[in-house]
């Protein structure tokens, strides 16, 4: 198997373990949950085969769901995100860049990367919490969960990205 697949497999397992063992148990103020595994979907480089993105994300969501006992919740949201990620990343890529550009603070600049990752995490949180609550009767709580989780997830992701780019 290619090194890319193995590397991604390692990331896959790492994200799942981190979420399930540590991060999934954090519920700040009862509304904000870090959903760090979304970062996995944002890491796919430009021109990575779309079926690959979809399948990786689907299985990531599936395994997260198995651990949190909510079949179908994360996998629906992550598959949607995986569908959106390749064309969306294209929007931020300057025309003359490398064919397999990886999304990071370093590669496309801080501002563009911020837009990119914020959008992805926000979309994921909206879909995730809408499916989880499945009703908009308590829309204030829904809104707080979405915004809170987005912020805390972004905080984690940015920390990670900055730490990565220090190397």
């Amino acid at each position: 198997m290619s090194t890319d697949v193995l590397k991604r497999l390692g990331l896959f397992v790492g994200f799942i373990l981190a979420q399930v063992v540590v991060l999934g148990r954090i519920h700040l103020l009862g509304i904000a949950t870090p959903l760090f595994y979304v970062y996995f979907v944002s890491l796919f480089p430009r021109n990575y085969p779309k079926w690959g993105v979809l399948l990786w994300s689907f299985f990531l969501g599936l395994f997260i769901d198995i651990f949190t006992n909510t079949p179908g919740l994360a996998s629906t949201a992550l598959t949607l995100l995986a569908f959106v990620q390749p064309p969306f990343f294209e929007l931020f890529v300057p025309r003359d860049s490398v064919d397999d550009l990886k999304p990071s603070l370093h590669s496309i600049g801080v501002l563009k990367y911020s837009y990119y990752i914020t959008f992805l995490v926000f979309i994921y949180c909206v879909v995730f919490f809408s499916l989880e609550m499945f009703s908009f009767s308590n829309w204030l709580h829904w809104l707080m969960c979405v915004v809170g989780s987005t912020l805390i997830t972004l905080a984690l992701i940015f920390t990670f990205e900055i730490a990565r780019n220090q190397h």
Binding site: K50, W51, L54, L55, F58, G61, L62, D65, T70, P71, G72, L73, S75, T76, T79, L80, A82, F83, L131, F134, S135
Partner: protein, 289 residues
């Protein structure tokens, strides 16, 4: 075919996305109770509506056959009616037209004519005595009607006399009655003082009716068949807890002048109700097993 394959090849990731997303949604709905119940309730509503329409269409096509069956039944019933009318005219001396009409509706039931030999009107719990008893086939728990409407239920019987609890008794068995022409039904109660009016309670708040409409028994009890007149709606009130309507009904039976009554000795109503109850009990036992 080639174009189809090309199309599939070009957009394969759309299809993969749809497949994976559908799979996830199926997992979501099947395995999570909240989503499951929301899905099922709305799906059931949609399915129910569709089936309603389709059954309305199929029912339309069987209207002809239903018409023929009804005509045949009508014919047999009318024949029975003329026979009974003749029998009844022989059994009683006079034939008051209003009474005639009231008793016509009881055509197919076994009736025992009786005379009221004592009655009270002005107590809180009134009782009535009739001059037929066990020797004539009258037993406890049978319905008593007169030509103009409902009278009450037999309570105690001896060989030749029976005591009847009329409607004018606050302990009277709560007779189930319905507004003629609608299915809305309630319970008949009497609270004393006024011997000409009683109350029908627990009419649902979504019921649509007018003052002046007739109230009659709806056949849900084992004592009275459907269609026995009770009275006319005079006034509509809200029930004490506000959850249903309370109708003030002017009783069609004139208890002050009551003389001739009929006891419904037909046990077929009771049999039907007993059979239904037995069926329900056996089904319940089967489910519990």
């Amino acid at each position: 075919m080639k174009n189809l394959l090309e199309f599939l090849q070009k957009y394969y990731h759309w299809f993969l996305f749809l497949v994976l997303e559908t799979l996830s949604l199926v997992l979501l709905v099947r395995n999570n109770n909240l989503q499951n119940s929301v899905w099922f309730s709305s799906a059931n509503a949609v399915v129910g509506k569709v089936y309603e329409w389709s059954s309305a269409v199929t029912a339309f096509f069987s209207l002809n056959k239903n018409n023929e069956d009804l005509m045949l039944r009508n014919y047999y019933l009318e024949r029975q009616l003329t026979q009974l009318r003749r029998l009844y005219a022989e059994a009683t001396e006079h034939a008051d037209p209003a009474q005639q009409q009231g008793l016509d509706s009881l055509g197919s039931y076994q009736l025992v004519p009786a005379k009221v030999i004592s009655s009270e009107l002005h107590h809180a719990n009134n009782l009535m005595t009739i001059d037929k008893g066990k020797a004539d086939g009258v037993e406890e728990g049978m319905g008593v009607v007169c030509g103009k409407g409902i009278v009450g239920v037999t309570y105690l019987t001896s060989d030749h006399y029976a005591v009847v609890i009329p409607v004018l008794n606050s302990n009277s068995s709560r007779i189930s009655c319905a507004i003629r022409g609608h299915q809305y039904f309630g319970v008949l109660r009497w609270y004393g003082k006024d011997a000409t009016h009683a109350y029908v309670e627990d009419i649902p708040r979504h019921a649509r009716f007018k003052r002046g409409e007739w109230v009659e028994t709806n056949g849900y009890s084992s004592i009275f068949p459907a269609g026995v007149l009770v009275g006319q709606i005079v006034e509509v009130y809200n029930s004490r807890d506000g959850l249903s309507y309370r109708l003030k009904v002017r009783l069609s039976t004139d208890f002050g002048n009551l003389r001739d009554v009929m006891v419904i000795t037909d046990r077929s109503i009771a049999d039907r109700v007993r059979l239904m109850q037995a069926a329900k009990d056996s089904l319940r036992l089967n489910v519990e097993e």
